[in-house]
Structures are given as C-alpha cells and as structure tokens.
Symmetry: C2
Subunit: 218 residues, 2 copies
Amino acid sequence: MRSIREKFHHPPLILAALYFLSMATTLAANRIAERKLRDRQVRRAQIISAARRIAELEGWSNVTVRRLSDEISYSQPVLYAHFGSREGILTAVAIEGFQEIGLALEKARKRVKRGNTVEAVAAAYLEFAASSPALYEVMFSLSLSVPFDDAATPPEMRFAFSQLLELFQGQSSKSGIISELFWASLHGIAELTRTKRFPRSRQKERVRALVEFFTFPR
Amino acid sequence: MRSIREKFHHPPLILAALYFLSMATTLAANRIAERKLRDRQVRRAQIISAARRIAELEGWSNVTVRRLSDEISYSQPVLYAHFGSREGILTAVAIEGFQEIGLALEKARKRVKRGNTVEAVAAAYLEFAASSPALYEVMFSLSLSVPFDDAATPPEMRFAFSQLLELFQGQSSKSGIISELFWASLHGIAELTRTKRFPRSRQKERVRALVEFFTFPR
DNA sequence: CATCGAATGTAGCGTTGCTAGATTTACTAA
DNA sequence: TTAGTAAATCTAGCAACGCTACATTCGATG
C-alpha cells in the first residue's frame, strides 16, 4: 500500500503553504459558524421576547406567527426553522417562565434568614403569577406537558419545583406530599385569582391562612 | 266619537263565529310556538352534548363550528342563531359543568352522616375533575369569566361555590377565607393532575393530607 | 291558493398555522 | 476576480378556521 506522500508527491513548500491556508480558512469558517450561531440565538430570543410582550399586552390569541414574523422583520418560515410550530414557541416561553419562577423562589428562600421562609416563598410565587399573568398562564395551559418526574421533563421545571420541595424537606415523613399540596394551593390561588374568581382584595388574608396551615410544628 | 260597534256593524252571529275562530287559531299558534321552543331547546342541548363529547374524546381544538354543525346535521348559521359565537357554546358547556359539580358536591355533603364531610366533598370534587377533564378544563379556561361575587355571575357558579362555603360555615371567624383556600387547593390538585404534573398514583395520600389540614379542631 | 315572515342553506370573506418551491445570499474554490 | 454551491430566506399558496351577507326554502295565515 502506497503512502499518500508517494501518491501525491509535492514539494514541501507547497505542502506547507496549503497547510497554513487550510488552517486560515478553517479558523475563518469557525468564526463565521460562531457568528451564525450567535445570530440564531439572538433571533430566537427576539421571537420569545416578542411573544411574551404581545401575550402580556394583548393576550395569547394575538400571538400569531405572522405577527411575530412582522415583529422580528423576517418571513414566517424563519420562525419554523427555529421552533417547529407555534406551540413550540409557546413551549419555549413556558420554559423560560419556569426558569424565572425557579430563580425567584430560590432567591426568596435563601434571602430570608429569620422570619417565615414558607411565607416568603408563597409571596414570591403569587407575586410572580400576578405580575406576569400571561406567562404564568402558558406555563400551565400547555397540553404537551410531560409528567413532572419524567426523564423528558425540562430541568427548568424540575428546578422550580425543587425549590418548593426543599421547603419541607425532612420536616415530616410525608414532606413530598406536603410539598405537592403546598404547590397545588399556590397554583389554585394564582389561577383563581388570574381568572377573576377570587377578588385580589383578600389576597393577603389568603396568604396568611395558607402560611398558617403549612408552618410546622402545628 | 262613534263606537266601534257603530263603525263596523255586523250581526251578532258573525261576531261570535269570528271570536271562536280567533280563539282556535290563537290556541293553534300557541301550540306551534311551544313546539318550536321545544325544538330549539332540543337542538341547543344537542349542540352542547356534541361539544362535550368531542371535547372529551378529541380535545377542545377539535370542537369546531363546522364539526358541530355536521354532528347535528344543520348548517353553521344555525349554531350562531343559538349561541352568538363559538365561545358562547363553550360558555354554555362550562355553565352546565358548574351546575353538575354543584349538584355532585351537594350530594356528597348531604349524604355523609357520620364520617368526614370535608373528605367526602374533596373526593367528589376531584372525582368530577378526573372523570370529565375536558369539561373541567373549559370551566376554568374561559377568559370571559366574571368576578365570582359579581351580580352577573351565573347562579350555577355561585351554587357550586356555596357548597364549599357551607362546609366551614361558622367554624371559624375566617370561614370565608378557609373556603377559598379549600377550593384553591382542590383546584390546584385537579389542575396539576389534569396537566400531568402530579402522578395519579399518590392522589389518595394527597387527599388524606388535605383533609387533615382542613378538618377542625386542629 | 297566495302571501309573507321565519327558518335554513349556500357561498364567501378574512385570518390562521403551516409548507413547497423559487430566489436570493453568503461562502468556497479555481 | 469569478464561477459554482450550499445555506438562508422569501413568495405564494393550501386547507381549515370563525363568522356572516345573502339567497332560498318552508310553513303558518288570511
């Protein structure tokens, strides 16, 4: 078997030149690829941001693919290159929402030294839901939701729920159930408030009663 | 001023005949009008029923006006004569849902003589939500919802919530708040279960813990 | 039987999510 | 520089949607 050197026999100088040239083009190609990736991410963020803004101001029904493509000054198919469907866009927004509420709950939980941690987290949760109702809505209205302890569950979701889990960790033999119940109560309050079933006026009393229930020892 | 008798002077016999004739036609017209009203109500019920069936089997996105008009073998405009819009149909279904859950809760509350009433009502609530997920979904996903203690609130809604209110009536100074919290917890559990955030497997434990929280004296 | 209003259907408008194919743009290589 | 190629982007259109103006049919009435 003949070597490559033998098969294509060039003077060393030319080989070296070709080497540097290829290195140069490779580096340039890398830089270009990186820039393209950055552009993609920027556009992706623009789409998500526009969707959130329109949803909060005019409701999710006004978040159409055409409207979004207008907002970012691209044609519709570009959106489908980023997210496979309209639902894909909503999913991306929802995941961003889970990340944000997770961080907000973590912050509330860690910041409070003395005083009631449960109360701080509850307040942070309801504050999040009240200040971004459309975002909160899409986080829970998505039918494509996977089971929460599934392997396919986005880590942002798990992180958010883990903040509630840690609140009651080890306080009871049923801390898992307690956490679920706490979450359900918060979600119920948030949702019934958002859909105007609960008047906002009594919100403080509701939180106070809720905290009383979930503060141990009973 | 001349009397009518004077103006249109007919022999008494003719007047009597006209009288009976008009009575007969009036009665016939009444019967016809009643039949038309019945037909209307039957069709209205058919529409609502078809909407519920399709929603439970294939989801609300498959409940289109064309599909419904197919199901009842009428053209689309007929649906718009009954309900002003697609949303009107969903609202009618939702109200039917509130009526049914109200009756189910009342039944659970009154049937239980000894044993925990709170537990019976909680179980009935979650059973309703689990057995008709699409119905439960539309009851709370409607954005046109009016405030719950508003004058425009449908009586079916108020009746349903009143069943929860009476559970804690007079048991505490804050029985109103307690009721709201109880409802929120149930709604949160129902919703997080429906959207697959909670596994159904631990539902019994959740209910047990919930009942423990809301059973007095503490 | 003729009439006239109510009931119902036909057909179409504007908008939606989505996509196939044309076209332009941006990079590579001679 | 220039030709060629692959990626990026747009144009244009489909089917289905909610909804409605208008034509048509039907049925009660005089």
